[in-house]
């Protein structure tokens, strides 16, 4: 499918061919990029949930290609006190050539893409989707491992409310990999997620023991257990700190294991790993800007 004017709501909407086109463009931009290609374009950032990191990443991507950025940063609840989300979207749609939206409410990006006439990029909606993070994660693996299939991939942490973890699994499930879904029972995958993985034909196993599966892994994707997504704080207290990945945890790993994390981290991932060859999370952050540059360019200019 053509990239021009396309909405980016969920990683499911993209075929391997679509992703390959994105990765090729990213390769090219990593090497050198056309700094004026988005001159005259305005990117509208709508961030209704705390996230400086992702917003800045999009902002840098836009500015490197010559676009201007307008930011609407407010808590979702405070927006709702004033006007409807619909009116906010309508207004930003008038001012912008492309909208980037993050929200704590599941389905916001789908709604925004229905309402806005300009393309919409989902920068995270509630516990549901985080497609650009999944694109970054896939690109990082492709870069560091030289391939996207035939890998044993462990995804560890909050697989219930963690949108990055879920989007990542949907991403790697497009290729022939074995997925180990590692979480405490309370944070295991939702039924809809498991059904979709089965539908895609993914090969996955669920376990609560990282130790058990670690020696098999080529990639370990660690995620934070996010307090803000828990419907019940008592449930959060029970599972926080379930996993702590440090050098001791990883002592039986393959020699070329890479450890990924969408960041920010709390205490699930030790600083000890930062200066080892396993560390891939700062690489993700670095490559993230290039992926987002390639995305903006493909959507606004075309192939």
């Amino acid at each position: 499918m053509a990239w021009k004017n396309r909405d980016v709501v969920s990683i499911d909407d993209f075929s391997k061919e679509d992703l390959e086109a994105l990765f090729k463009k990213t390769d090219e931009y990593e090497h050198s990029y056309p700094s004026g290609i988005l001159k005259g374009k305005i990117i509208g950032n709508i961030f209704l949930e705390y996230s400086t990191r992702t917003r800045v990443s999009f902002e840098v991507a836009a500015k490197r290609l010559g676009a201007e950025v307008i930011n609407l940063v407010a808590e979702y609840s405070s927006i709702k006190k004033g006007e409807s989300l619909y009116d906010t979207l309508k207004m930003m749609d008038i001012y912008s050539d492309l909208l980037v939206i993050r929200s704590p409410i599941e389905g916001t990006a789908r709604f925004a893409s229905d309402v806005c006439k300009h393309p919409v990029i989902n920068a995270g909606d509630g516990y549901l989707n985080h497609p650009t993070q999944a694109m970054i994660d896939l690109y990082t693996i492709r870069k560091l491992k030289g391939r996207l299939d035939d890998l044993r991939i462990g995804v560890c942490g909050d697989l219930r409310y963690g949108r990055a973890a879920v989007s990542f699994m949907f991403g790697v499930a497009k290729y022939s990999n074995k997925i180990y879904a590692i979480s405490p029972a309370q944070l295991s995958m939702r039924e809809d997620v498991k059904n979709k993985l089965t539908e895609i034909g993914a090969y996955f196993v669920e376990t609560n023991s990282l130790e058990e599966v670690l020696p098999e892994l080529d990639v370990l994707y660690v995620t934070r257990i996010q307090k803000e997504r828990f419907p019940d704080i008592a449930e959060y207290e029970k599972v926080k700190g379930s996993y702590k990945v440090d050098l001791k945890t990883l002592q039986n790993s393959k020699r070329d294991l890479i450890v990924m994390h969408p960041l920010p981290r709390v205490d699930e991932l030790s600083y000890e790993i930062d200066n080892t060859p396993m560390q891939a999370y700062f690489k993700q952050a670095e490559l993230g800007v290039y992926i987002r540059m390639a995305l903006l360019s493909l959507i606004l200019v075309g192939e």
């Binding site: 619909y86 704590p104 409410i105 599941e106 389905g107 789908r110 709604f111 039924e191 809809d192 979709k196």
Partner: protein, 159 residues
């Protein structure tokens, strides 16, 4: 009319709802607001043999024609139901409910942080029909599943 239906006494004016899944007649009555408070004579046949359904329930309501706005909800509980309007002992009109692939606006997503649940937004809930019997739906916005019991609870709530 099928022979089985004849087992229930004929009515002069009213509505016959046929091909209700067996055991669902009482839910349908509640959905239609036909509780003890109405004066219409009701005849209910349960576990009647049927070619289409194996066994089925049938409801006859005298002196009432259904409000068409209820047909969408009826389709969720009795997706094969047929509705016969009877006037002067004759079938005056016959219609079938239709359970489409998507259900819009009738139900509420159980996820309070779903976009379709947010107040003052011009948005209508939308569910994909994953399975007709037993009923299973999925919110097109947040992917949350809704099962038959939850649907019944929502539809007959407060009725």
């Amino acid at each position: 009319m099928e022979e089985a239906e004849m087992k229930v006494a004929k009515i002069r004016n009213g509505t016959v709802i046929d091909h209700i899944p067996s055991g669902k007649a009482l839910v349908v009555l509640r959905l239609l607001g036909l509780t003890g408070k109405v004066e219409n004579t009701l005849t209910i046949a349960m576990n009647v043999k049927s070619k289409k359904l194996g066994i089925k329930d049938i409801i006859k309501v005298e002196n009432l024609e259904l409000d068409p706005s209820l047909l969408g909800s009826l389709a969720l509980i009795a997706p094969m139901a047929t509705i016969n309007v009877i006037r002067d002992y004759r079938v005056y009109g016959k219609s079938k409910v239709i359970l489409k692939d998507y259900v819009e606006g009738i139900l509420k997503c159980p996820n309070p942080t779903c976009i379709s649940r947010q107040q003052n937004e011009p948005i209508v809930s939308k569910f994909k029909v994953i399975q007709k019997t037993p009923l299973k739906l999925q919110c097109t916005y947040c992917y949350r599943y809704v099962n038959e019991n939850e649907v019944i609870e929502q539809l007959v709530e407060g009725k």
